[in-house]
């Protein structure tokens, strides 16, 4: 009983998470690897493939899509990310990416800023942005 409950939970849980796609300004690269996206969001790389200065944009804390993105791309929970950034900030090594409250705001910012990279729900994609990574 317990086992089948756990099994069904484990099947349901991933489905319940929202999907995301990583987008850039239309002038961005055609495609990116997961590690290239990760390196931008942990401040280890500052440039998009192709050399454009990157402007990574995160969703604000508490957004389920943010958790899904980081679980998949950086492999860190929100608490681990916070600990990571406090280490970077207090050692002068960098600041976390700026964050916006909604995917609508992220899409608008990415569409209007060369070098910007963000993530939104797949259904929101249109010609104003370019999809560079799909998990």
């Amino acid at each position: 009983m317990m086992k089948s409950l756990l099994l069904s939970l484990s099947l349901i849980a991933p489905m319940a998470l929202a999907d995301f796609v990583v987008i850039t300004h239309p002038s961005g690269p055609d495609a990116m690897e997961k590690d290239q996206v990760r390196d931008l969001y942990i401040g280890r790389s500052k440039q998009l493939p192709g050399g454009q200065t990157a402007d990574p944009i995160d969703l604000s804390g508490g957004n389920p899509l943010r958790e899904e993105f980081h679980t998949t791309v950086t492999g860190r929970s929100q608490a681990q990310l916070n600990a990571f950034w406090s280490k970077q900030v207090f050692t002068g090594k960098g600041q976390p990416p700026r964050s916006l409250d909604s995917t609508t705001a992220v899409k608008a910012a990415v569409a209007s800023t060369p070098g910007a990279i963000g993530y939104i729900e797949p259904g929101e994609v249109d010609g104003s942005v370019k999809v560079v990574f799909t998990p």
Partner: protein, 409 residues
Amino acid sequence: MAQRIHLATATMASLGCLLLCSQAANAQSDAERLQQLEQQVANLQSQVSSTQASEDRLRFNGFLSLAYGVASNDGGYAGYTEEGTFNNESLFGLQGAFTLTDNTEVTMQLVGRGREDWDPGIEWAYISHQFTPAFTMRAGKMRLPLFMYSDSLEVGYAQPWIRPPVEVYGAVPVTSYTGVDGLYDISLDNSTLSLQGFVGESDETISLAGGQVARLAVNDLVGGSATWTDFIWTLRANLAQAEITTGGDKLDTTFMGVGFSYNDGTWQVISELTSLEIDGPTADTESGYITLARTFGAFSPYATFSMTESTDDDERPLTRLGAFAALTTPGSPYYGDVSVLSGSEIANLERKAYSLGVRWDVMSNVAVKFDVTRTSDFGNTGGGLDGNFAPTIAYDDADVYSIKIDSAF
């Protein structure tokens, strides 16, 4: 000002568009109109936030730790005795970073510690300049980068433990220096190699075992470190040399350390091995620790084993009793001179410690930690405990129980 005007123009343009768009949209469905409005608001939002970002020349961050600990005896291990205290490991930090140009920044960090009556002191004060995306130089007062967690030594929120293992991190009483460093990042295929070189000096009052204080001057400090990381694995090696002076003698000192860490988001392993060699009878030590931690949601239990030992005991033939006799006998050449103790077998050191603890991420940017540490296996030595800085050894182990709230903001 130019930015404000720009923002105002942009806002008016967008508002104008909002009006026009809504007029033109009479024939459109409500849903479409709503979508357009949402897009307009989003555009405005992103304009506002990017303007804020460029005006964001001064940034403040802080951290706060509140700790309570109590030990099974008065040996003083990790600063705790039978009488519990909040002051020993509670502290706050306030950091301000001012951007001068795109590539130049001034950073200051004030730290106030409970054990120093919360008097804030400057822990960092430096100017940094990024010459190329890969090369940065800094000048001023900075952390002495001897250990993997040196830079974030007091930022408990950034650490898995309640405190960095005392056996390793307690071996060097100096934690900052004044000087210049250079940081060079080499991007490899999917990983980064960071090289750091530094020169400088320091001169501060340090606490010694037995409640003594001494002036410790560090001159001709030169060192470097190499850190390789692919975000999951981190490997680090470093070396530093200096001439240190306590009292009269100038002593050549060499510090070496190697460390690695692994963090896949679930499992975390951290280990460091360090060696400190000081000329003359002042104790040379070798120390190390290994920590294993696993994350279960908000809980990350950890276990640590650490050890330290002195390696030049044959350079200190003077016995414990002999040293105290020389210190306290009027007419002795060492009468009243506590430095005779650090050249005697009192400075011999052997100690192991076992910690079990848990980090609980209660809410965003706040972690509560519980820890039990047992130290023992002092051999024939006093284990470096303050309470054993006496003619006879009174303590041959200690248990420390502590709880700590760490936050960063």
